[in-house]
Symmetry: C2
Subunit: 399 residues, 2 copies
């Protein structure tokens, strides 16, 4: 690769993987060794794994995001707040909504999109837990339906919330939402017995692939909080009035939240890079096939375990990819050998609302308060990695 | 009038006039002198004059209402939470949603309804500032549009709020809403310059009939806060997309609030009592014409001043009517002479948002902080009349 002057690195996206790449580059690179530009749609990084709280309204969005300029050192990294419109690998350029950027090395960390599997109406009528904006909309949407109900008290469908998908996002959201319902009922003078939270999952179990004993425990906790499960029940269609499930049964609901799937970003497909549902099967150094100057990390990448099964897109793998990607970028620039990416699975914890969680860590099963406490510690740990002790103090949830 | 046993008094409505009648009866009546039942749709009394704050979201609805059972003495007055369906003067009965009540004396204090003057679409698409429920809906509706805007950033109509009518309710609401906008913009990351509050009034001035100098001052204050006035501009139609005004100009707005008129209650018309827009021209003792056992007070009544012009329906006149009505009920029962109702105008104060108001009191004009302070004292005074010092401490706004 020939370059004039110092190499230009462009990072697209400041989610878990992109921000981690930027922060590690900032730490590793020497003065004038590379020109790093971070591009992001918002001027903040947010904590996707905690968006179920913003969506349920149990937490303020401010606790789930941090200004990018408070994380990066502007003397070392340029930040451009813009939306990516097109990636042109052949020209080594990225087209932004309001400009273009050329690069020598590109990091695609644009995050995923909701996958609706072609189910009619989902894209139009269902809300998704994908961003601060989308979850603020969910919170306001639900509150609005409660307020409407007081003017149209025969419409109990206004108080029915359907959550499609019982993966981690779906399960964590219904747990949080069930915690919020008593407060919503007080706020709007609504009889709590009229509120329904229905979690619908096509697979024969919630949290498919997770430890069955913990799944059983989790379902019991959530059912006790008022969640109804409809397992083995595919959503056929989403309408303005609710959903059609199974053999045509209609469930009337003014709120439908779809958590059933994540795919990669359409911009990656449109760039001519080979993808599977928008995700790129990267090489062992996290590079797109055929491009030794394009790294793909986070939800846009597809990494396989030793048995040849893809790792699910999680924050944990994204953060580790960000670190590896930064190391490999530095190695590229210094003409050193690249380091293969090896995922270290540290465990999985799922919140079930206040004071309740389930999970596996250090090869052991945890549940209840202990698991909830471990999840909290884990969240604080991420804040520390991201922004040191000051960020922990500013954004940490300690109770 | 012949009666068996002790006379039965039924009071319909626990707004300003109804609750005042009940409280005064409770104080004046001796043991077993009458059987008093208060009927109200909600189990709380609310402060209609402060609903513009609940609607704008600058105040919690809890500060604008008080539980009826905390105001009345249940050993002296029965309270029935129900909705009146029909009044049958010929049978001396009131039909409730879930029962019937017979009476010897009836007090109709059901409050007014929104008057749309036949403008198409207003009843369907505009929101009104009439109750705790309707104002919670306004607050949630506006917040929801802000949240939607972040997902559809080309739709600036989501950030346009049209307020139809620039009487007291309209003016107080736009003042309060303008105060809320900066907070809403922070909460939803919205550029404040995109938010529009448009107050539309068909009359050639805002606050028609009010002191022109104070009106001029008030408009300047509100314009400085960001309110746009469209005076002398009738609303021709309200649509799902906004309003059509004047000669067919369309103003796109996702939120339309109608404050342009109040009429009496349809139940009064349906009872066969003679009304003008649902309001009853009561006699000097506040009785319905032709019925010496039916009193009509508050927004359902029409009282004329010495020049033969009707007094506008205000909280001030409603409270005074409640006191007079209770006195006359006691007089009826004791076969004493009734006392004619004489309205004592104590002044008029209109809030323009935080720390700003205009008004006339003690024959003088007030504006700015002084007027705002007087309005606050006046609100506290009402709480004191209603529930004594404890209620002032519980619900009073002191800053």
């Amino acid at each position: 690769m020939e370059m004039n002057g110092i190499p230009k690195i462009v990072i697209l996206g400041a989610g878990y993987s992109g921000i981690m790449t930027a922060l590690r580059l900032q730490k590793e690179l020497n003065y004038n060794e590379a020109d790093v530009t971070l591009v992001n749609k918002h001027d903040y990084h947010y904590f996707t794994t905690q968006l179920h709280m913003t969506a349920a309204g149990t937490d303020n969005p401010e606790n789930n995001r941090v200004s990018i300029l408070k994380l990066i050192d502007e003397f070392k990294i340029d930040f451009v707040k813009s939306t990516v419109v097109q990636i042109r690998p052949q020209d080594r350029r990225v087209i932004l909504e309001d400009g273009t950027l050329s690069y020598d090395y590109l990091v695609i960390a644009l995050g995923g999109e909701s996958e609706t599997f072609g189910i009619p109406g989902l894209a139009e009528y269902a809300l998704t837990i994908r961003s601060i904006n989308s979850t603020r909309l969910i919170r306001e949407h639900i509150e609005y339906q409660f307020a409407r109900f007081k003017r149209e008290p025969h419409r109990t469908d206004l108080l029915t919330i359907v959550v499609g998908g019982a993966g981690f996002t779906g399960i964590e959201f219904v747990g949080e939402l069930a915690d919020r319902v008593p407060e919503l009922c007080r706020q709007f003078d609504v009889d709590p017995s009229l509120v329904k939270i229905i979690n619908i999952e096509a697979a024969p179990t919630v949290l498919p692939g997770f430890d069955p004993e913990l799944v059983e425990y989790g379902m019991r906790v959530l059912e006790r909080k008022g969640v109804t499960f409809r397992i083995g029940t595919p959503i056929r269609e989403c309408t303005p009035d609710g959903v059609i499930v199974g053999d045509g049964e209609e469930i009337k609901a003014a709120t439908v939240i779809w958590t059933g799937g994540v795919r990669g970003n359409r911009l990656v497909e449109e760039a001519g890079i080979e993808t599977v549902r928008g995700r790129v099967k990267v090489d062992e150094y996290l590079r797109a096939p055929g491009y030794d100057n394009i790294f793909v990390i986070g939800d846009c990448s597809l990494v396989f375990n030793e048995e040849g099964k893809p790792y699910p897109p999680t924050a944990q793998i994204a953060v580790q990819q960000g670190v590896n990607c930064a190391q490999n970028l530095v190695a590229c620039i210094r003409n050193q050998a690249l380091k293969p990416f090896r995922y270290q699975h540290k465990g999985t914890l799922a919140s079930l609302g206040k004071g309740e969680a389930i999970g596996i860590a250090f090869g052991r099963k945890y549940r209840g308060r202990t698991a909830a406490w471990m999840k909290k510690v884990n969240d604080l740990r991420y804040l520390f990695v991201l922004g040191g002790i000051m960020l922990v103090l500013r954004k940490g949830r300690f109770i």
